[in-house]
């Protein structure tokens, strides 16, 4: 397709992250003309700085348009009784005395590839039971699609990404092996696995988005641990590489960074008749398409719908059922040197408390992974400033001895929807589009806190059993909202009164309006990374659209 934004296409997709990119590829490969826009810029692996002298000061690059603006309301009171999940600050293990939950923001990237650009690449299928949380446990809502139907889409998405994984993953039947073998366990994972075994738990290899062997033009991972800063080798399977590149290669998909969808026009017969797009220069364009796909994520998609006079909100459910990343990170120092800065971040995982009924009396599970990357103990400067005390030449020698001994563990839990967690519009702030920005309301009911406390306790038992004498540093979602996985807000379901899109992710009312991001999730899963499920759902949605629309 041409470089200039066309006036017409079969499908317009707004948002080029895990959902939009996969949908674009799935549609274009079957001959549909696709215009894929994103409010953020394009990135190139050469943009990432993991080989420069001051690499540790380099974060994922911020570019014009790469960060959305939003408000967060997350000020619930904190209580001393939850001491086991209060934050702890290194080096003196000082426990937080904060009295109110804070926001550390919604960690995301706007751009071609979306937040997969800085994810650590967890490629997880949900368990079959996770699709039936309401039927089985009376919480959240059931998915209108089941594991068995999604399985072939999972397998296709895994193929495109080149997922590296073990022969089997607990409780998830497979029709095909992972495309590439699991990565060898890092020394950190080996140490944590020994600890897990001592407390009756098991760590196994985590399915991840970087291939262990060359795959579809991408090299194998070389274990630098910098996934979160952007993969400069281009081995990590971010959606720009795994889906946008092949979508463009079909010749049917035009990709337009720094183009923001600001309005959808309603027409007769419950059809959307056009879209208004704002480019980086501030010029407005109109495009007409047979189908329109919103794929801007669980914060921006409801924002656009609500800001467009409640488009698609016949149920009143747009923005509701917001689900966030509820988790923790705990770090200590092992007595022995393991070189823990090396390896694929979170290359192993404990599934033992992941099943939705794994925790007595608490529906919804959690996953536990070894890490130093999530806790940011990946480089010497962070050790020197945060973990270590002391000064002088002896301090240098101590740092030289201790760097590589940090051992961390991270937890991510199920997050069930509740009425006090939702997305609406800011009453007093607009952005460059002229639309109100999104306002995120986050609240953790006691059940969420109890699940988190259970998972943190288990994870720290593992750390202690691995040989860590003390937890030096801990941060948890109890103290602050800092989500990177956000879900819900445009729930999919069969009932138009309780959901926003149907079982095929099409608006119940608007016959050519679709949603292809994590806003459609009726439940969050029990700590799994959402990207693979998003890929699978989006490819399936494309199939359904092509069947129904004959585009």
């Amino acid at each position: 397709m041409e470089d200039k934004l066309p006036k017409q296409a079969d499908v317009l997709i707004a948002g080029a992250g895990a959902g939009g990119a996969a949908a674009a590829w799935a549609l274009a490969r079957r001959g549909a003309t696709v215009v894929l826009i994103d409010a953020g810029p394009g990135f190139d692996p050469a943009d990432y700085k993991n080989s420069v002298d001051d690499w540790e000061t380099q974060w994922f690059p911020i570019r014009p348009g790469s960060q959305g603006h939003h408000e967060v309301v997350a000020g619930q009171p904190l209580f001393e009784k939850w001491s086991e999940i209060r934050n702890i600050s290194a080096p003196r293990q000082r426990m937080s005395t904060a009295t109110q939950r804070k926001s550390r923001g919604y960690s995301h990237i706007r751009g071609i590839g979306g937040t997969t650009l800085h994810f650590t690449g967890w490629m997880h299928r949900l368990r079959p039971q996770a699709f039936e949380m309401n039927t089985r446990f009376g919480v959240a809502a059931d998915w209108p699609v089941k594991y068995d139907e999604l399985e072939r889409y999972y397998a296709l998405a895994e193929y495109m990404v080149g997922v590296a994984g073990p022969d089997q993953v607990a409780g998830r039947p497979r029709s095909a092996p992972f495309p590439t073998p699991a990565h060898p366990a890092s020394m950190l994972s080996q140490a944590i696995a020994r600890g897990a075994e001592k407390v009756g738990l098991s760590m196994v290899q985590n399915p991840v988005a970087a291939p262990s062997q060359a795959w579809l033009g991408r090299p194998p991972c070389n274990y630098c641990g910098c996934c979160h800063k952007g993969c400069e080798r281009g081995d990590k399977g971010s959606a720009d590489l795994t889906f946008v590149v092949p979508a463009k290669a079909t010749g049917k998909c035009g990709v337009f960074p720094r183009h923001t969808l600001v309005e959808l026009q309603r027409g007769d017969n419950d059809q959307i008749t056009g879209a208004t797009i704002l480019d980086a220069a501030g010029d407005r364009h109109t495009i007409t398409a047979s189908n329109y796909v919103l794929a801007a994520g669980a914060v921006e998609t409801p924002r656009l719908l609500l800001a467009t006079d409640g488009l698609g909100n016949e149920s009143g459910e747009v923005g509701k059922n917001f689900m966030e990343t509820v988790g923790s990170g705990s770090t200590g120092m092992l007595p022995e040197q393991i070189g823990s800065h090396r390896g694929y971040p979170e290359d192993s995982i404990c599934w033992d408390i992941n099943a939705p009924d794994a925790i007595d009396g608490i529906p919804g599970g959690a996953v536990i992974c070894p890490t130093v990357v999530s806790s940011d103990y990946h480089g010497p400067a962070r050790y020197a400033t945060k973990l270590a005390e002391g000064i002088g030449s002896d301090f240098k020698r101590k740092l030289a001895e201790d760097f590589g001994k940090a051992a961390g563990i991270t937890v991510i839990c199920e997050n069930l929807p509740n009425p006090r967690s939702y997305v609406d519009l800011s009453p007093n702030q607009i952005d460059y589009t002229g639309l109100p920005i999104a306002r995120i309301h986050s609240f953790l009911p006691d059940l969420e806190i109890e699940r988190l406390a259970y998972a943190v306790k288990k994870s720290e038992e593992i750390l202690f059993a691995a040989g860590v004498p003390a937890i030096l540093d801990r941060f948890t979602s109890y103290e602050a909202f800092y989500a990177s996985h956000v879900m819900g807000t445009c729930r999919m379901g069969s009932n138009p009164e309780t959901s926003v899109v149907n079982e095929h992710q099409r608006s119940h009312r608007w016959k050519n309006l679709w949603v292809s991001d994590a806003s459609v999730f009726p439940s969050s899963g029990s700590g799994e990374g959402p990207s693979l499920t998003l890929h699978a759902l989006s490819i399936r949605m494309a199939d359904k659209m092509l069947e129904q629309s004959k585009v």
Partner: protein, 167 residues
């Protein structure tokens, strides 16, 4: 997956501590930095934190003074805090921290480092220490001099599953 956004984050003064410190700090900030004497104290402090030795250059030789000042250059209050810290150092050294012996300088800063984390001095010191340490050790060239790895790429760590020693 749950990245804490800031590295080397400095301790935060409580509201009470802030109110107690603010007038002194503001006064120091208004009076302005005494470069003739203050710079000597800053340099001596920075090099006490990280002196020249067989493991690498002194912090002041590689921009440590500038990094420290930059950390405290965001507001009049911050500049005042740094002035306050330097004044404490001078006071404890009997007038001039820069003129004290290296052993005495080390003793004073070690005592500062060991203070209760509730004290204002420790919080300001920890911020100052963090700025210098972060600057110094965020250079791959300097960490390699300690026997630590350099930048993770382009070579990566293909041996991540094998034992490791810092050379």
């Amino acid at each position: 997956m749950l990245n804490e956004p800031l590295s080397g984050k400095a301790p935060v003064l409580s509201r009470r501590q802030f109110l107690l410190t603010a007038p002194i700090a503001l006064l120091a900030g208004v009076v302005g930095w005494s470069f003739s004497t203050g710079d000597k104290t800053v340099k001596a402090f920075v090099d006490t934190l990280l002196p020249a030795d067989e493991l690498g250059p002194a912090a002041s030789e590689v921009g440590g003074v500038e990094a420290l000042k930059a950390e405290f250059d965001h507001s009049m209050l911050r500049r005042g805090e740094l002035q306050l810290l330097m004044s404490w150092l001078d006071l404890n050294a009997g007038g001039s921290f820069a003129s004290a012996t290296a052993d005495r300088q080390f003793e004073i800063v070690t005592a500062l480092d060991a203070l209760s984390e509730e004290t204002v001095r420790w919080k300001i010191h920890r911020r100052a220490r963090g700025a210098v340490m972060w600057h110094y050790f965020s250079s791959a060239e300097r960490t390699m001099a300690l026997g630590l790895p350099g930048a993770p790429q382009p070579d990566g760590y293909p041996d991540a599953h094998l034992p490791w020693v810092n050379s």
